[in-house]
Amino acid sequence: MKVPLSWLKDYVDIDLPVHQLAEKMTLAGLEVTKTEHVGEWWDREKILVGQVLQVERHPNADRLLLADVAYGGEAPLRVVTGAPNLLPYLGAPEPGPKVVFALVGAVLIDGYDPARKRKKLKASKIRGIPSMGMVCSERELGLSDEHSGIIILPEDAPVGMPLVDYLGDTVFDIDITPNMARCLSMTGVAREVHALLETPLHIQWPKVKPASLSYTAGDKVNVVIEDSDLCQRYTATLLENVQIGPSPFWMARRLSLAGMRPINNVVDITNYVMLEWGQPLHAFDYDKLVARAGGGKPTIIVRRARPGETMRTLDGVDRELTEDMLLICDIAGPIAIAGVMGGEETEVMPGTANILLESATFEYINNRQTAQALRLPSEASYRFSRGIPAGMVVPAAQRAAELMATSAGATVVPAMVDTYPVPQETRVVEVTPQRIQKLLGADIPPEKMVAILQRLDFSVEAEKPLIANSLLRCTVPWHRLDVSIPADIVEEVARVWGADRLPERLLPTTLPPQRHNWVLEAEEFLRDLLVGAGLQDIIPYPLTSLEHCSRLHPDGPAPDPADYVRIANPLTPERSVMRHTLLVSLLETVQYNLRYSERLAMFEIGRIYLPLPSGRAEEPHRLGIIMVGPRQVPAMGVDDAGKLFTFADLKGVLELIFRRLGMQDVIFLPTSHPTFGPQVTAIRQGKREIGVAGVLHPLVREAFGLSQLPVLLAELEIPPLVEAYQKPLQLRPISTFPPIVEDLALVVAANLLAGDVKAALRKAGAPLLREVELFDVYQGEGIPPGKKSLAFHLTFQSMERTLKDKDTAKLRQKILRQLKKSLGAELRR
């Protein structure tokens, strides 16, 4: 909402410097986001109000004129101009219009420069005649882009006055929150300023003088409200013999400053009243209504649309109307969509003589839905959809009638038709000062509260004597729709009192019962662990596309949309479903980053989204890891430069996690998975599958446009990790006796898993065999085909005594016997 201060000052006195006023309004909930100083750069000495004394034709150019301009200097100056709106004054004996005159040396906007740069005006000769200054257009002063003619000022403009004093202004741009809809008007803002500054308010009730006629509006039009749930009040004012033409300068000027383009006096008056009172108005061509009524008395009918009804709105579009849309109709059908847009057929045109002016209030939620459904946002529906008090309807109609009479020559037909089936209730809110004090934590004196409320136009009946627990009966002013409960009163008091005057207090030291957030704590632990292990923490969008999801299953069926939480109104198809797996997000992120870096090692701790029949989603947490490229950042002195990440690097990270969480029961088993190639493992804890890890399937890699490098990927469920995190790690006793380390190489079937052999070793060697570490896998010379050799370091240690060689020799025999029996293992010789 743009508020020119010169306009605001019509209704309230302002005794503060502009920036202090802006600050005060901002703190009280009317955020001034911009302060524009119109004319700030106009030179006081060189840009002045002038008057054209006489206009002659340029002797050497048909299209140019010579104008003698008085500007307060000793003698008038002659300028050469092409302004077409000076043509009517050509050769006239009387002095011409008041204009804006710029002397040589003034800085003006160059009207012909597309960049609208400012330039110093130079003395010049045009077709042989010297031009001693310039008469200016709006564009040259930065007032608007209008450049087809020069500015014609009102007749009473004082010649010689610096233009900045005459037309300069300050315009606040105010961000109006929904609860402040009343401030979508100058009078509404003025009431707030009055409450804040405690300066006098002079909002004047319109003084409309109806013509003395033998008939009233009621003789000329009927109004019927059929759907009073959507239209609380409808008034029709009849204005006859309207002369449509340009608006007076002051009105056009104020509309421009407020950001609305002046059109003609009738349109401008409806806009002006809307900006002044916040009440949108609509003008119908009365004679067209009479014609539609077959020459008789028209009847305005306010009702919902009927099935299949259509109407052409004044933008020339045929609109299909639905049954929940409120219409303004006559007996022939719809003539406007209530509070949204008028119909083309009854539109006011240049030849219109008689006007029926609608001032009404429509139910705000319904109005908003209609405007949204038709995609017809407008200044009018913006206000209707925030609620207009029924009490606003009449003063706005009267103000418009007053202006139509003074500025459009209209005859105001006496007694508007006022149909008001649902009177606005007067609301009373009861509250004690104590309650206000308690919620704000501030000892605001009760009499100050009462004064604040009264300045806001509440009438307050207080129990006497006025103390903290006296009951205040606050009657809400007719122009406020946003106050209905005590909290609203608290807010009013607080706003005007000022938040900076409220004390600051720390919360009591007694805490509510404390609970752990184990998930968050475990996740933060994992985050630190993985960062320390060289992986980058990432946060990708959980939104992806079915197409990307399908890439994870190169051979499988297309993903079923029903399995996904889908977005009904996605911004782009790439972000239209919620992911089922972190793998897709990891791959998207790597795809993006491989442009910048050949080595990527990343992880995400995030949610996946599984739709539930209710419409909600199950949102389990997962950990995803991705690694691609060289193991080491290539650098001087890095030994294994060029060696790529392999499955062992990924598994090492996973083992690190399980070790740090004390998860000794996790095993890795061969599996198959459509997203992975042959190197893939299921990760199990006991019987529970908790994740998958492996080398990405080459076709998936290709589908994501990744290079030929192997991509290592893993995804783990978070809950088992959280469970483990919650359990304190238990000490494994440390023996004080020396260990004996021996090597053992076994020849086993080539397809036997090293993990199984290791587990069998542990079992056979327990409890003296404390550690088993595989250090070599060998196939080839000396090993029969179909077999492989696995070499282990075995660490034997007792808690009770020093082991002797003969202890381990015995144990070794037992181990070999058992492994031969269970796995067919032979000692390698």
Binding site: L511, P542, L543, M578, P611, E619, M636
Partner: protein
């Protein structure tokens, strides 16, 4: 006596061999060859018994002196070698401290998560707990229970992603978490923060994201006042941004709080003088807050006649942008390594 000549020869040979020993290992070998159990000097000592009686004293004395001289020479040579080794170790000529170091591979915690941690830490000190809530939400929780009925103009404040199930959406704010927390805790007092991802139907630009994090705070109890709200926020901001920060509370509107305020902090870049970042106002908006609306308290199971509360919400990305001079929010979720690796 020829034997004495033999000794002289042995001495010459041993001393010249010693000169060529320049490291500890060759000294050890030299010792074995001359002074060890089977060394030449030891054998020479044993020859005493085979000599005529009258020659024995002279020979014995000579061989003993030889032994002493060789031992002394050995010790001397040992010293020389040690000094040479020390001198070699202390040689600095080739050292260049400007050669690059060999960095261990470490990752970084994502800047959003880092900022979230800072926020958690401060609120933990203030006795807050951390509470989780779902991202796929119902219209009821995200809007209606928060006093934003369907069709209400306040709904324009949130551009929403709806799911294909009518009545469900991606939460536009962490505020529905207030309802979850209150319904779980009622009638206990509450002091929690609710962090998480939120989504808005907004074109992604340098200034706006379709996804971002929010941290909601909620305090409910029997005597919670706006003064508590101010005190808590001031304590948080001064810990997060520095004790010298100035704050400004200006009234605003959120449907789920009343009164509602926006909290501005003096611009950390220009110190309040006005710059591009603060749009020449000298202030940076850092959070919205307010007293929990009685309707919301009632909807979530607390009687507003007896309980009151305050709530606030802030954006960690916005905070991180202010703190670290970041001018494009898109860096956060494109996960550009050139960005992530800087923090």
């Amino acid at each position: 006596m020829d034997e004495l000549n033999d000794l002289a020869r042995l001495e010459r040979e041993a001393l010249s061999a010693l000169q060529t020993a320049t490291e500890q290992a060759s000294l050890d070998a030299w010792f074995g060859r001359y002074l060890g159990r089977k060394g030449a000097v030891t054998l020479a000592v044993r020859r005493v018994g085979s000599l005529p009686k009258e020659d024995r004293p002279a020979y014995g004395q000579a061989v003993n002196q030889l032994r002493k001289r060789l031992e002394a020479a050995l010790a001397q040579q040992g010293e020389t070698i040690k000094e040479a080794a020390l001198a070699a170790e202390m040689e600095t000529g080739a050292f260049d401290p400007t050669l690059p170091g060999r960095l261990p591979n470490v990752g970084r915690v994502h800047l959003s998560n880092r900022t979230l941690r800072e926020i958690y830490d401060i609120f933990r000190q203030l006795g807050f707990q951390i509470y989780d809530a779902p991202e796929v939400e119902s219209d009821e929780y995200n809007f209606e229970l928060l006093n934003i009925p369907a069709g209400h103009p306040a709904r324009d404040m949130w551009d929403t992603f709806y799911t294909t199930t009518p009545g469900y959406l991606l939460r536009t704010q962490t505020s529905p978490g207030q309802i979850w927390a209150m319904r779980e805790y009622a009638p206990e007092p509450i002091r929690v923060i609710l962090p998480g991802k939120c989504y808005r139907y907004e074109q992604v630009t340098a200034r706006s994201e379709m996804m971002f994090h929010q941290v909601e705070g909620l305090v409910v109890g029997e005597n919670i006042t706006m003064a508590d709200l101010k005190g808590t926020i001031v304590a948080f901001v001064r810990q997060m941004f520095g004790q010298e920060r100035k704050l400004r509370f200006r009234f605003s509107h959120f449907p789920f709080t009343e009164p509602s305020v926006e909290v501005d902090m003096d611009c950390i870049l220009c110190g309040g003088k006005g710059c591009r970042v603060c749009k020449y106002t000298g202030w940076l908006e850092i959070m919205g807050a307010g007293m929990v609306h009685p309707t919301v308290l009632r909807n979530a199971g607390y009687d507003p006649e007896h309980y009151s509360g305050f709530a606030f919400g802030m954006g960690p990305e916005r905070i991180a942008m202010m703190k670290h001079g970041i001018d494009d929010i898109r860096y956060f979720f494109s996960n550009d390594v050139r960005f992530l690796s800087q923090f």
